[in-house]
Symmetry: C2
Subunit: 480 residues, 2 copies
């Protein structure tokens, strides 16, 4: 950080800007073990709001929450071949418990498919036990060396859903249903436009037959995988013997899915909406939707100002607006403006002695900084004005991000244009390459297939890379 009080402009150094915003907005801090993260109250409240928005959607589809142990026997990981291959390099292993060397070391969960497989095999007997639809809110461990707050940490918070079904069709439907929920959440709660699609084989989850993803474009044009939904086929059912008796009394293997969205999504919110002044939070998820700042110089004014502040606080709270009153005594209003701007609160209300006289307040919107976004409005009916403004800001953030994504996504049909496109955004291309082709593109341009979008154009085209006839479009980008 160039100076302790100055924020590096986003345009100048996106990476530095991100790290500074996370710390200065008081979202998170580094934990003492390298790569770990402390999520501070402001960041955690944002996560609680995300949890609530998702949890409500999950429960509406019949999903129930449960909790599974963090300790998994090492042998479980080895039961599904590609799963262990994917996760073995990142495991944290407990070898000592209660002062004794353990006979079998246990792994701290990197994800719970194996633990779930073990339990479902015990619990599921008959087709009447299906579908089984569970979700877990917890944290998982992946031993990462190059970490970045929220985006990649040794321990991160998430939800992991795990379902078991009687048929392949049902499992496929559930995989898509949960992806739709993630997309709906991203777009309508976080104002983060996403592309829903299918991962290429190379980017697939270890053990899945198909991985669906939502991909978002960050403010620097790079892609962030923001939530994934996996169709696991019968891979885990066969590895763990998850079987059921069908109506004809015959034993069948289940079809399973898993799906997750993590605190990484907080990174998506920061990097989609943030600006040179700091964080910009979507109103529907913001811990505080408005901050009220009392302004007075003389003690004579203080009583009247604070009285108005408290009254307005109550009026706003009564219509379920999340309000913060910043009545800290030792700081100037100017300092407070900057502070809450940096922390991304969607609206700001200022009240001084002149406002009291005029029965007005100054109302500023975070998505349009400076004078342009500030208006003077009557104290009468203020709650409704703020509520409407929050809806408008939410929509504006989504529109702006969608426009940015559209402007930085280019349909290209040759490698030169491709290289230019992925420097600043996404390239949409016809693709008929194999894994080796994909790897070559990655080595040469750092861009990977983010997904094959679910929405595909009609017809066929020519692969920009191999020149072969191609029947689907891929979106490439450089990824976090």
């Amino acid at each position: 950080m160039s100076s302790k009080d100055k924020l590096t402009p986003r345009s100048e150094d996106f990476n530095e800007w991100y790290n500074t915003v996370v710390l200065k907005a008081d979202l998170a801090d580094y934990g003492p073990v390298r790569g770990t993260m402390i999520v501070k109250p402001y960041g955690w409240t944002l996560w609680e709001n995300i949890q609530h928005a998702l949890d409500t959607r999950f429960k509406a589809t019949g999903v129930q929450n449960a909790a599974f142990p963090m300790f998994i026997p090492m042998s479980f990981l080895q039961k599904e071949a590609s799963h262990v291959k994917g996760f073995a390099p990142e495991l944290a292993v407990v070898t000592i418990g209660g002062g004794q060397e353990l006979a079998e070391p246990v792994v701290v969960r990197p994800t719970s498919e194996t633990m779930i497989g073990h339990a479902y095999a015990n619990w599921i007997q008959s087709y009447r036990d299906l579908p089984m639809l569970l979700n877990l809110w917890n944290s998982v461990i992946r031993w990462e060396l190059r970490t970045k707050l929220f985006l990649r940490t040794l321990e991160f918070y998430w939800q992991e859903g795990h379902t078991a079904h009687a048929t392949a069709v049902e499992a496929d439907e559930r995989t898509r249903m949960m992806l739709d929920i993630y997309a709906d959440f991203a777009i309508n709660e976080a104002a983060v436009p996403v592309i829903s699609g299918v991962k290429s084989e190379m980017e697939r989850f270890a053990g899945a037959v198909e991985t669906l993803t939502i991909e978002a474009m960050m403010g620097d044009g790079k892609a962030l995988q923001s939530g994934t939904s996996h169709n696991l086929g019968q891979n885990f059912a066969k590895a763990f013997d998850i079987q059921y008796l069908d109506p004809n009394n015959e034993l069948q293997y289940c079809w399973t899915t898993s799906w997750g969205l993590s605190t990484r999504f907080i990174g998506a919110i920061i990097m989609t909406h943030g600006d040179d002044h700091g964080l910009v939070l979507p109103p529907r998820l913001a811990p505080y939707q408005t901050v009220i700042i009392p302004i007075y110089r003389k003690d004579a004014d203080k009583t009247a100002v604070l009285e108005a502040v408290r009254r307005i606080e109550q009026e706003l709270t009564a219509v379920n607006i999340r309000v913060k009153v910043d009545d800290r005594e030792n700081l100037t209003p100017g300092y407070k403006f900057n502070d809450w701007e940096l922390r991304g609160v969607p609206t700001r209300i200022e009240i001084g002695p002149r406002d009291i006289e005029k029965n007005s307040v100054a109302l500023a919107r975070r998505d349009i900084p400076g004078r342009e976004g500030k208006q003077f409005v009557s104290q009468d009916g203020l709650a409704q004005v703020v509520a409407d403004l929050l809806v408008e800001i939410q929509q504006n953030l989504l529109d702006r991000a969608t426009r940015f994504q559209d402007e930085n996504t280019h349909d290209v049909d040759n490698y030169d244009d491709f290289k230019t496109a992925v420097k600043t955004g996404f390239a949409r291309v016809w693709w008929a390459g194999n894994n080796e082709d994909e790897q070559r593109v990655k080595d040469e341009t750092k861009a990977t297939i983010r997904c094959f979008p679910l929405e595909q154009p009609a017809g066929q085209g020519t692969c920009f890379f191999t020149g072969k006839p191609a029947d689907r479009i891929a979106v490439f980008g450089r990824a976090y």
Copy 2:
């Protein structure tokens, strides 16, 4: 379990009854690593309701939630001498991360005082940063060999609150405030009567200067420590250098507290209210407050019955009653009655063809099993009748448990009566013994000082054990 379908009577074998109820009511299951627990949806929903009741109370006192890493450097534990002594024998130690032997092993948190101490030392600069009031909802690891679902498991779920204050008085007030919240929650949400008091030195938290506790009497007369609040004095502040500049610009050590309530409390609910038929859940916390069971033999009746069931479900849901409709096709009504009775749902509504004719339903209350607790009521205004009944059941459970506790708590003044008292309940005695006396009583009777109640009689008495003059009453009991 004597038979797969029969519940061991509570009076016959309390321990066996408990284990069977937990499994058959579908609250929890054993995890694959010895001593770990899977909390199933029914148990986890109960925990979510407990979380909500506590979280609301915490936030009303200014507490905010945050999240801290599960991995703590081993060296942190060693900074507070009595703390490491208390927890060292129970630690789980990660020695391998990402395929490499770690230079410094990390501990999976048994509790977070040390991690908090480290962070607070960084975050707190001035008196203006105080008080700092954080709470964490997470799980912790204590390597226990003799485990029992909910009561003592290798990993358990809880909240741990951690506060830092400028003065000893404030820390003391906070310690008591949080204990009061626990007692209020236990009594008014869980209908579990508790005794609030101070732990003896022997039973104090490792590193605390004072531990407050709520103690409840289980159905077998034994005590369950159900929540604790610790005044840590300046012990952790000095070990971790948590200092602040006071208004005179002088460096001072903070005063800290910590307080926790865990999934152990689910054990308290089971063992306080359960009966020979199984679980009995307090309406305010029950995942389902009422279960509706449609009854029909002929397909001709089915449509009308299910229509009424759905209508009543909606009416009850509209007034925020948590309703479960059991429309499973392959099970008899009798089986369902037993099943939901075992699972402790506070009220049951039965609707058959005759009820449709009479515009009535059968309404049964779980706290009074059998015919005595069953009445026929009109379908008109049913939602209000059920809502009122839930309030009545909640009160009845509390009254009953309070009566039981009172009847099994004896004021005694000699060792013979003491021994008799602690066989079936609590002994209230004047106490002036030292640690050795306390240990002797424990060795000879298995009873320990549960607490010195905060409510003390006036005056002085004679210690029942040492014969010395005593200025306070202690409650002894055998503990879980």
